[in-house]
Amino acid sequence: MKLVVCVSYVPDTASKINVSLDGKTIEQAGVTYILNPYDEFAIEEALKLKEKFGGEVDIISLGGDKNKESIQKALAMGADNGILLKDDSYRDSVAIAFGLAEEIKTLNADVVLFGKQSVDYDNGIIGQLTAELLGFNCVSVVTKLDITDNKVTAEREIEGGKEIVSTSLPVVITGQKGLNEPRYASLKGIMAAKKKVITEKTPVQFESKVLIDGFTKPASKQAGKIIGTDASAAAELVRLLKDEAKVI
């Protein structure tokens, strides 16, 4: 089974995010980058499928040299090959997906896995975009996956419950927490990964139609009032919610 996982490289969720003075970019000082947390679910699921069906796991990331760190981590977890589609310029999500899809077309993939969302721009769309560009079936925000022969059954999270989705290979899935417990890279895995080559390629160009104007910080919320320090404050709270905030 040919398995492909697309991974991104994003600020650690605990990073403080500051906007540059001109409002055009996010300050990079003090921001540490990591493999996108949701992509770990995708990598783990690919490794499990490989254990079950045999085959290979390819990792692809589109971006600058730094993205190799994400690829490296996936290789350390047990993936076979890494591909960096090197492009330092801005691409919107469709243009990223286009670059990924053109590469994946050459790989004969059965299952292509993504994280449900990158924790930088919080889009959650590149998996679906890539699926449509490939002409693959697509199930997003997957918490359970079962593949038997050509048949795919997936559970996806929705408001107030889950959907059981039935489809077939080739398929794109985007992984959500619950899908599996991502393994830690073993020391042996980390050493082995150092010997694996990451192939560098130039992704196919595509015009971005979403242009970023800039960033702003949310208006800092005034720390509100402390209305009491014991149970007697409950009555005042109810009054405020009813008469001042008018939310109950």
């Binding site: 469709v94 889009n123 975009l129 449509e132 039935s166 979403v210 960033f215 949310p218 149970a231 409950a234």
Partner: protein, 324 residues
């Protein structure tokens, strides 16, 4: 350029969702401002409350029907919406950023070679350019962006705009029975979770954290939720501990919510928790540590033991409920 807006109305169990009425209401206000046309589209088997769309200012609704379309099928739905866009030359297509909208909008954007921006909290059209604002980095910043597609596909964060019943329009409903469905990806079953109301759909959320001390104490949280007609939420600490199901988790790796009222009980307010709820309109925190970060963003705080305050709060609410 003449703007032709299309609103995708999502039905579940034969009812158009509230978040769809929110975007219908927003789109009709926008269309008046732009002097644009606005129409809506929905897909399903039978829909009970379709006529209500008129109350939100939309005069024409296309209803694509087939018993097989009662449950969502991304392959069938994407084709129906995309064909409609082509035939009607829509150039601005709005979805609500729900589980369905989030999956469907990118598929539709690709088929129509359009531009896509999801989870927007503001949308404006000025001199032929579509501008959006959307939260990024888990709400730690906002991005402003411009869309330059011939078709611009946008999804709007639920609970961002009110669903205003401002009109008495009687919508014209155009039913189209369609055959030849592509059901290569289809939902075969929907399983409801145990919690009655989902946090992403609630106007009020009462969430509990590690300060609750033990899983059985969540009956306090549930009692308060029930009195307020609220959904029950949780911090990751208590979800990881197995006290609460993952579906209730609010935050970076859980759900993003923006209810009118968010009540945090025994939650410290870690940055990853705030990421999921900071855009709530009113925030109440009850925590015995006066330095807990949750107080930084709370509108109303009580620094006390929740096991003293919450029962009293329940009593007070029962009193006012009794008087109503």
């Amino acid at each position: 350029m003449e703007n032709k807006i299309l609103v995708f109305l999502e039905q579940r169990n034969g009812f158009i969702k509230k978040s769809s009425f929110e975007i219908a209401s927003y789109a009709s206000a926008l269309s008046q401002k732009l002097n644009a046309t606005v129409e809506a589209l929905t897909i399903g088997k039978e829909i009970t409350n379709l006529q209500e769309v008129g109350n939100y200012g939309i005069s024409k609704v296309y209803f694509y029907k087939n018993p097989e379309l009662e449950l969502y099928s991304s392959s069938a739905y994407k084709k129906i919406v995309s064909n409609h866009i082509k035939e009607n030359e829509n150039n601005l297509v709005l979805f609500s950023n729900t589980a369905m909208g989030k999956e469907l909008s990118p598929l539709v954007a690709v088929i129509n070679q359009g531009a896509l921006s999801v989870d927007c909290t503001k949308l404006d059209v000025e001199n032929d350019s579509v501008k959006v604002i959307r939260p990024v980095y888990a709400g730690k910043a906002f991005m402003t962006a411009e869309l330059k597609g011939n078709v611009n596909v946008i999804s709007i964060r639920p609970n961002t705009f009110p669903a205003n019943k401002t009109s008495e329009l009687n919508s014209e409903i155009i039913e189209k029975y369609i055959e030849d469905l592509d059901l290569s990806v289809r939902v075969t079953e929907v399983v409801k979770s145990d919690s009655k109301l989902d946090v992403t759909e609630a106007d009020i959320i009462v969430s509990g954290g590690r300060g609750l001390k033990a899983p059985e104490n969540f009956k306090l949280v549930e009692e308060l939720s029930q009195l307020l007609g609220a959904a029950t939420g949780a911090s990751r600490a208590v979800v990881d501990a197995g006290w609460r199901p993952h579906g209730e988790q609010v935050g970076q790796t859980g759900k993003t919510v923006s209810p009118n009222l968010y009540i945090a009980l025994g939650i410290s307010g870690a940055i990853q928790h705030l990421a999921g709820m900071r855009s709530s309109k009113y925030i109440v925190a009850i925590n015995k540590d006066k330095d807990a970060p949750i107080f930084q963003i709370a509108d109303y705080g009580i620094v006390a033991d929740l096991f003293d305050v919450v029962p009293e709060l329940i009593n007070e609410l029962k009193k006012i409920r009794g008087n109503e």
